[in-house]
């Protein structure tokens, strides 16, 4: 297969992504296995994102894919990491055309950021604060329009700033809405949530419902690894139990730790005594 074919195949994978860990992993593995062709493959991501037929949910899924890709990249000498960082701002701009994608992008961006040696805690924390400036608040009162900010940054930092800017805009619109006079009539759901809007960046009712289901499913899967331990040696010790599980909830001091192991061994004795037949 030549590079062109591989890029085509990759584009196909991206278009057909579904938000399931297995599917995301498969696409990431494909990209990483073919990292010889990285230069052909990484621009494909933006190409696919710019495709007019790609819907809002698919855009969000592609960002989840990028999260998985970066997370796996260390196994392949950090392939793609540098290139992705370059196009990250453009990707975020594209995916956040719909504010519906903001939460998922935020979560993935937090996890992506861990793989860079840049401290972004400041931005992570900001996401949950009131981002409106005094001027914004004045504009809201005057029923004015929000003014966009421009940034000189690059890469990861710029990506964060774009996301926060998107969030600020969303807060601005909401504040304006809350100033309007409340309606006393009963309204239909189409009106209340604008689920039948002609705006191509708005989600339809069906898209929203499938998104909720996908999110729940992903949340469930994410818990399957909760108890995984990276174990260097192939032996299982009670120390591991204490460090990874018990201490997680309530760290024991030395004295308590000793008592803890005593108690464990008592329990073990008790259990083996309960068998009628000799164990081991």
């Amino acid at each position: 297969m030549d590079s062109f074919d591989i890029a085509n195949q990759f584009a196909q994978l991206l278009r057909n992504l579904t938000p399931q860990i297995g599917v995301l992993n498969k696409a990431a593995t494909f990209a990483l296995k073919n990292s010889d062709n990285e230069d052909y493959l990484f621009p494909t991501i933006l190409n696919v994102l710019h495709d007019k037929n790609l819907n809002i949910n698919q855009k969000s899924t592609i960002f989840q894919f990028i999260d998985v890709l970066i997370d796996e990249a260390h196994k392949y000498n950090g392939a793609y990491v540098k290139n992705i960082e370059k196009i990250l701002p453009a990707i975020i701009k594209n995916i956040c055309v719909s504010s519906s994608n903001m939460f998922n992008v935020y979560q993935s961006l937090c996890s992506i950021s861990k793989h860079f040696k840049i401290n972004v805690k400041e931005y992570e924390d900001k996401f949950y604060t009131d981002l409106l400036t005094e001027e914004d608040k004045k504009l809201i009162e005057e029923n004015g329009q929000i003014e966009s900010k421009k940034f000189d940054d690059h890469g990861l930092i710029l990506a964060w700033k774009i996301l926060l800017e998107r969030k600020r805009r969303s807060q601005f619109e909401r504040a304006k809405l809350l100033r309007s006079n409340p309606i006393h009539e009963t309204v239909e759901e189409d009106e209340l949530f604008k689920v039948k809007s002609k705006d191509k960046y708005a989600l339809s009712k069906r898209q929203i419902l499938s998104r909720l289901e996908d999110d729940r499913e992903l949340h469930k899967r994410s818990k399957e690894n909760l108890w995984n331990v990276n174990r260097d040696k192939s032996v299982l010790t009670e120390q591991e139990f204490k460090d990874h599980y018990w201490n997680k909830f309530n760290a024991l001091n030395d004295e308590e730790g000793k008592e803890f192991f005593n108690a464990l061994s008592d329990l073990n004795d008790l259990v083996s005594a309960s068998y009628k037949d000799q164990q081991y």
Binding site: L178, N181, E188, E189, L192, L209, F249, A263
Partner: protein, 507 residues
């Protein structure tokens, strides 16, 4: 006082009262340990249980030696039949003794005059005198027809629920059958969670597990039988609740919920069909299929639970907006919905899916704003499901006139959009609603209701009613058609009938 490690065991014990007190104290200890999460099994503790002559390791506890039939019957007021262990705190290991079921006590709530009987009573063949009780096992083969299915009373996610009669005692119990055919991965962990929780309960307003039964490939949970559930009862055409009756029901509901919440358990499926009622309105919260104990969190840690819980009509806005770090407040919304139902007989928010459910809620309660729910935009699905219009609350206009003022004010608090603004179950118990007259009063009049009213039968009755109406209408239409055809053979009846079903859904 009874010594901690020498107290009478299951069938041989004969001081029930003492034992019961002891149990509850022991339980409280566990509770505290659990909350501190620093419980370490004590050395002396396990040593002791090991040396106790009556200690039986986990296993066929139910099948231990039991005094012979006659003796058991004669003074069984004082004897706890053996069975699944009684209330045990979440950190189970600390309890040294299997204590027998709390079934006796549980049954007493409702059957004061009936002598409680062990679920299965058998004559034990002669026992060799030189054996200690724990060395004797019996293999119980329940004879045929000890239990007789009377009728099905429930159909749920996991399996069917039957009303069952014990042929020797003539008592009724409920069998909840676990559906296992579809379980490829063995005994479902969710069922284990449900059973474990049920075993730990000891409160008049919370259902307790009498025992587990295994028959061929089926597993049953056995409960006290209650004649009605709230959904079924509220659908009774002759039901005419007074304020005192509503208060009687609601007070018990909150007491039961408060018990669960104190134990750090979130029910996560509060709704009418999971609230059981006996012949005079004594209430028990049931169905712990979705319940879970709350996680113990370290500082700064947030809980992370699934939000795929609670039947949609009773699901609070934070869950509809994707919260996974929710708490007991989700149950409070549910009982808020039920308080309204005690007045209106049907749920007040009846959506078809998450979006329409939120729409119903916002239309009545108004859309949230900066002052009543400032951090709503932190919820995962807020951007997807944020209201694009500003709606005023219509709750007062709609409901104030038809409720007592105290009930209305309480409902308003329970149905706060912002979970942080909802009162705790403890606070609800102190509410004006319960302080002011009229005082709660049992529903003696429902004793006269014919039949049993569970959601299951209600649905069945409704189906039959619909079928009857449809048949009547069809017959009428046919007759009309025939008449018309007789007059002019080309003309056909094209009018579309709306079935009662579709009308219901639109309401």
């Amino acid at each position: 006082m009874v010594d901690k490690f020498n107290r009478p065991t299951g069938p041989r014990g004969n001081n029930n009262q003492q034992q019961r007190d002891y149990n509850s104290r022991d339980y409280n200890n566990n509770q505290r340990d659990f909350q501190r999460s620093s419980y370490i099994p004590h050395k002396s503790n396990s040593k002791n249980s090991q040396s106790r002559d009556s200690y039986v390791p986990s296993g066929p506890k139910r099948d231990q030696y039991r005094p012979n039939n006659n003796g058991f019957r004669k003074d069984n007021n004082n004897i706890r039949p053996s069975g699944p262990s009684g209330p045990s705190g979440p950190s189970g290991t600390k309890r040294p003794l299997p204590s027998g079921p709390s079934s006796l006590k549980k049954r007493r709530d409702f059957h004061h005059n009936n002598i409680p009987k062990g679920p299965k009573i058998r004559a034990i063949p002669e026992i060799r005198k030189d054996l200690l009780p724990h060395q004797i096992y019996t293999i119980n083969k329940t004879g045929p027809n000890i239990y007789e299915k009377v009728q099905q009373v429930g159909e749920g996610t996991y399996g069917k629920v039957y009303k069952v009669k014990h042929n020797r005692t003539n008592e009724f119990v409920a069998f909840k059958k676990l559906r296992l055919e579809s379980e490829r991965e063995g005994f479902p962990i969710t069922a284990i969670r449900e059973i474990k929780l049920l075993q730990s309960f000891d409160h008049p307003n919370v259902i307790g597990l009498l025992e587990m039964m295994i028959e061929k490939n089926s597993i049953y949970m056995v409960f006290d039988y209650l004649d009605h559930d709230l959904t079924g009862l509220l659908s009774h055409p002759d039901l005419n609740l007074q304020e005192s009756h509503r208060k009687y029901i609601f007070k018990q509901l909150i007491s039961g919920l408060n018990y669960l919440h104190e134990k750090r358990i979130i029910h996560r499926d509060i709704k009418g069909s999971n609230i059981l009622l006996d012949k005079i309105g004594n209430l028990k919260i049931a169905d712990f299929g979705l319940a879970r104990p709350m996680k113990i969190l370290t500082a700064g840690e947030l809980p992370d639970y699934t939000n795929r819980v609670i039947t949609i009509w009773y699901r609070p806005p934070e869950l509809l907006l994707g919260a996974t770090d929710y708490g007991r407040e989700v149950d409070i919304w549910g009982v808020g919905c039920l308080l309204m139902e005690l007045y209106y007989k049907v749920a007040i928010f009846r959506g078809l899916d998450e979006i329409s459910q939120l729409c119903k809620i916002f239309n009545i309660m108004g859309t949230p704003n900066m002052s009543n729910w400032p951090d709503i935009d932190k919820l995962p699905w807020f951007e997807m499901l944020k209201p694009r219009l500003n709606l005023a609350s219509k709750f007062e206009d709609k409901f104030k006139k038809t409720m007592s003022i105290e009930a209305f004010k309480l409902a308003e608090k329970l149905l706060m959009l912002n979970p942080k603004s909802r009162p705790t179950s403890e606070e609800i118990l102190q509410d004006e609603y319960f302080k002011n007259d009229p005082k709660p009063e049992p529903l003696y009049f429902i004793k006269d209701f014919e039949g049993e009213w569970h959601e299951f039968e209600t649905k069945q009755r409704r189906r039959e009613e619909r079928k009857r109406i449809k048949e009547e209408e069809d017959a009428e239409a046919n007759a009309r058609k025939e008449r018309i055809e007789k007059v002019s053979p080309q003309c056909t009846d094209k009018s579309v009938k709306t079935s009662p079903e579709s009308k219901d859904a639109k309401e």
